[in-house]
C-alpha cells in the first residue's frame, strides 16, 4: 500500500515540478513585482500601491474602470453571440443534407486561424476603408466609404466583438456539433410525440441538453477574450482601452517603475478570470450535489 503510494507520488512529481516552477513560479514572481518588489531597480519594499494607483489614482482610475467595463462588455457580448450563432448553425447543419460537408467546413474554417489574422481580416472587411464600405459606396448605398458606420476601432468595441464572434463561433460550433451528434434526435422525436412544438422542443429539450457543454465552452471563451491582447490591440481605440492592452502598455513604458502597475493589472485580470472559473466549478459542483 505504502509502496503503491510512493510510486504514485514519484510518477506525479516531475510534471508537478514543471507546473509549479514554470506556471506558479512565474505568477508568484509577477505577483511580487505587482507588490513593488523589483530588485533590478533597487525596489525591495512590499506594498499595494501599484494596485491602488491602477484602481483609484486620479491618473489611472478612469482608464481602469472604463477599461474593465469595456472588457466585461466585449467578453460577455462576444461569448454570448458566438454561442448563439454556433448553436443555430449547428442545429441547421446537423441533419444530413447535400451541402452538409461544405457548410461544416466553412463553419469550422476559422478554428485553426490565428486571432491576429482574423483581426486583420476584420479590418479588411469592416473598416471604413474595407471591402464592405467600398461595396456599399459602389452600389450607391452610401456617398463615400467614409460614410460607412464605424465598426472597427470604435469606442464600443464592436470590431473586437465581431472578431471574437467570427473566431470563437467555430470553437462553439465544433463542440455543439459533437454534442448534438452524440445525442441524436431521439429526445426531440420523443418530445414531439408528447406534443412539443418546434419552439418547445428547442426550449425544453435541446437547450437543457446542450447547456452544460455550452456553459463550459463559454467559460473558456470568456476567459480567453477577457485576457487576450492581440485583437483589442489591433481593433481597439486608445480610450477606452481594454485591460490587457493597458497592461501591455505599462510594460512597454521606458520607466521601469510602471512595470508594477502592469503586473498589478495582469494579476487583476487573472483574478477576475479565476473568480469566474471558481464560480463555475461551484455552480457545477452544486448541481452535481443537487442531482
Amino acid at each position: 500500500m505504502g509502496g503503491e503510494r510512493l510510486k504514485i507520488i514519484l510518477s506525479l512529481t516531475p510534471p508537478l515540478l514543471i507546473i509549479i516552477t514554470l506556471f506558479f513560479g512565474g505568477i508568484f514572481y509577477g505577483f511580487l513585482q505587482s507588490l513593488g518588489y523589483q530588485p533590478a531597480i533597487g525596489k525591495y519594499d512590499i506594498n499595494f500601491s501599484a494596485y491602488y494607483n491602477v484602481m483609484f489614482s486620479e491618473r489611472y482610475s478612469k482608464l481602469f474602470w472604463t477599461g474593465l467595463g469595456l472588457n466585461l462588455w466585449v467578453s460577455f457580448a462576444s461569448t454570448f453571440l458566438a454561442a448563439v450563432f454556433a448553436l443555430f448553425g449547428a442545429l441547421a447543419i446537423r441533419k444530413t443534407f447535400f451541402a452538409k460537408t461544405v457548410c461544416n467546413f466553412i463553419y469550422s474554417l476559422n478554428l485553426p486561424m490565428p486571432h491576429l489574422v482574423v483581426a486583420v481580416g476584420m479590418i479588411f472587411v469592416f473598416s471604413q476603408s474595407g471591402l464592405l464600405a467600398r461595396f456599399a459606396s459602389q452600389l450607391g448605398l452610401i456617398n463615400s466609404p467614409g460614410d460607412f458606420p464605424v465598426l472597427v476601432r470604435d469606442k464600443y468595441g464592436f470590431g473586437i466583438i465581431l472578431a471574437y464572434i467570427w473566431k470563437e463561433a467555430a470553437f462553439f460550433f465544433i463542440i455543439l456539433m459533437s454534442v448534438l451528434q452524440s445525442l441524436g434526435e431521439n429526445f426531440e422525436e420523443l418530445a414531439q410525440s408528447l406534443g412539443a412544438n418546434r419552439w418547445q422542443r428547442f426550449r425544453y429539450v435541446i437547450l437543457p441538453l446542450v447547456m452544460p457543454n455550452l456553459f463550459s465552452a463559454s467559460i473558456i471563451v470568456f476567459a480567453f477574450s477577457f485576457g487576450a491582447y492581440e485583437v483589442p490591440a489591433l481593433l481597439g481605440v486608445i480610450y477606452p482601452q481594454m485591460l490587457p492592452v493597458m497592461a501591455f502598455e505599462f510594460f512597454l513604458n521606458p520607466d521601469l517603475n510602471a512595470r508594477s502597475e502592469g503586473m498589478a493589472l495582469s494579476i487583476i485580470i487573472a483574478l477576475i478570470v479565476m473568480i469566474l472559473v471558481v464560480f463555475y466549478f461551484w455552480l457545477t459542483q452544486a448541481k452535481i450535489r443537487k442531482d
Binding site: E189, A191, Q192, S193, L194, G195, A196, Q200, P208, L209
Partner: protein, 351 residues
Amino acid sequence: MSDLKIINLVKNFVGMDRPAVNNVNLKINSGELVAFLGPSGCGKTTILKMITGLFAPDNGDIVLDNKSLLPIPTENRGVVMVFQNYLLFPYMNVNENVGFALKMKGIDKNVIEKKVREMLDLVKLPDIGFRKPKQLSGGQQQRVALARALIASPRLLLLDEPLSNLDAHLRDEMRDLIVTIQKKLNVTTIFVTHDQEEAVLLADKIALIFDGELQNYTSPKNYYEQPKNIKAAKFFGGVNFIKSKKINNEFISDIGKINYVGENINDLNDEINITIRPENIKLSKTNDFDHNSFKGNIKSIIFSGTHTRYKIIINNLELECSLQSLGIKNINQGDEIFVHLPKDKIWGMND
C-alpha cells in the same frame, strides 16, 4: 374508439436495395394490443415512426378513426411513442418528466401535479417524484417512461422494444404491468419486439414482418397451429415440414399418404408443405393409430428436463417429436417406431 388502418404502406431509404417497408396492410381494432414481430432491421420501428409522423411514407396511408394521419404533424396526432432506451430527460426529475406532455399543452400546474400523482400510482411508483432519472433502476425508468406516455391520454400508444433492456425477472413484472394498464385504460397499443415469446405473452395479435413485408397477421395461437408459411412457422419454433402433392383430394408425400382435414383445404395449391408441432406428434412401439401412422427409426434422443426430443427418420425425412419425459417408456436410439401425425394437428401451407 381508436381503430388504426395501415394501407399499402411503403418506405424506401437511400442506399437500401429493397424497400424498408413494402406494401404493408393491416387493421388494428380499438383497444387491441398488437405486436410487430421480426428480426432486427425488418422495418418494425420504421412503421412505428411512420405512424408517429417522424418518417413520411413514400406511398400508402395511415388512418386513425377513419381520418388519415399523414397531413397531421407528429405533435398533434395523439400518437405517443415510448422509446427502447426510455429517454427520460436527464435534467428533469420524475415529476417533471411525467408531466412533460401536459406542460407542453399549457395545462395548469396544480392539474399537472394531480395527474402526475395518478400516473405514478398507476405504474406503482408513488414515492419517487423528486428523484432524477439516474437515481432510478432500469425497471423504474421504464415505468416512468410509460407514465409519461400515458399522461398524454394517447389515442394510440407505441412501445419500441419495451422489455429488451430489462433483466429477466423485471421483464415478467413489466409485462404484467403493461397488459394490466393497457386493458384498464383500453388504449390501442402497438409494441415492437424481436422476441417471439414476448409477443406471444403480451399481444392479442401479432404482425410478423420479414424484410419489410408483412408475413402473417393473426393471433399468437394461430402462429403455432395454423402458420401462414414456412417462414412464420419456423419463427415460432416449427421444425417439421413435409412436402406434399395434392392428387385427387389426397396429399401424397415422401413418407406416404397424409390424411388432411385442415379448414384451409380448399385454399391449398397442388404442392404444399405440411407442418406439425413437435409436441403434437405421437410415438408408439406398436401401430396403434388408425390414420397418418408411419414407420420410422429413432435417430437421436435429447433429454431437456421436463421434455425429451426425439429425431426420427422416416424414409429419409427427418421429423422432430417432443414428449414429456415422465411418460416415456423404453424408447432407445435406433429403435423402430410408429409415428402418428394426428389429422387435426397438421396444417398445410402454400409457401
